[in-house]
């Protein structure tokens, strides 16, 4: 009997050890980080200082990377969300990443497997602004083509879930 059927488990960043309270705490903070420690304490059956210590530890361990305000892209004048697959000939494109990062329309940059080499998440004012952006991307050396997928509706948009995986 093959009791040792080990799946591939990439572990570059060491996973933190978390108990149930840590996970529910992270879940609460991931949906609304403006709650007071006293309020969180009531939900977790803990005192405010105890919650504080846990949050402090989770921050030091890097489980909590930051606290940020979530902005409304449409109200900022960018209602059009698009995913752009970028084809490249060269893999020495990391230099051009700096340029892409500077563009306010670009929210995410990933290198991916599959037909394309890169995947961008971009938010623009309208299709014209998207076209301008694509034109700029095409003008970058090594970027040979793009395929765009315009988001019609977004039904879910959240961060990583702290729910236990096994």
């Amino acid at each position: 009997m093959a009791e040792d059927s080990n799946p591939v488990r990439p572990r570059l960043a060491p996973p933190a050890r978390l108990d149930d309270r840590d996970r529910t705490l992270l879940g609460l903070l991931a949906e609304d980080s403006s709650r007071s420690y006293a309020e969180l304490g009531k939900l977790l059956h803990l005192s405010a200082p105890a919650v504080h210590e846990r949050v402090k530890r989770l921050r030091q361990d890097g489980v909590i990377k930051a606290n940020v305000a979530v902005l409304d892209g449409a109200k900022l004048g960018r209602p059009l969300l698009t995913f752009v697959h970028v084809d490249t000939t060269s893999w020495a494109v990391t230099r051009h990443l700096l340029a892409l990062k500077e563009l306010p329309e670009v929210e995410e940059i990933h290198t991916v497997t599959g037909e394309s080499a890169m995947l961008l998440k971009v938010r623009t004012r309208d299709t014209q602004a998207l076209e301008d952006l694509l034109e700029r991307i095409h003008s970058i050396e090594g970027f040979t083509g793009t395929r765009s997928y315009i988001a019609l509706s977004t039904y879910l948009e959240r961060g990583p879930s702290p729910v236990a995986t096994e």
Copy 2:
């Protein structure tokens, strides 16, 4: 000369009117919302109550949707980020969205234009967990196929930029 060349400008959510201070304030809060109003005031050359009033207004207007903690997916045991294009035969899939939302691996759900009907952003423990997830998606009625793009590296991941668009 065609001086009136009007581009398409979708305006479902009314864009808010923001001055320069609002935009820099939003930028600061989008990268770190744990700063005190006094500290923000120093950066903006404003008093703490003035900053408070602006934030309050931006929240009421819905420009600031929430304050959340950003978690590290890898440290939570999900190092593998994948974008999944889902093909569907039927457009009556919105009922199945509720099921997808319950899956902790699924972070984003969009309906998109192009070859596929839906685009998912999912985070899993490993390729095995991804395979299990895909199997579950395939078993949903109306979902005929998927194409997956595994993210090798992520170079940028942020929210909408408050930088002025024109």
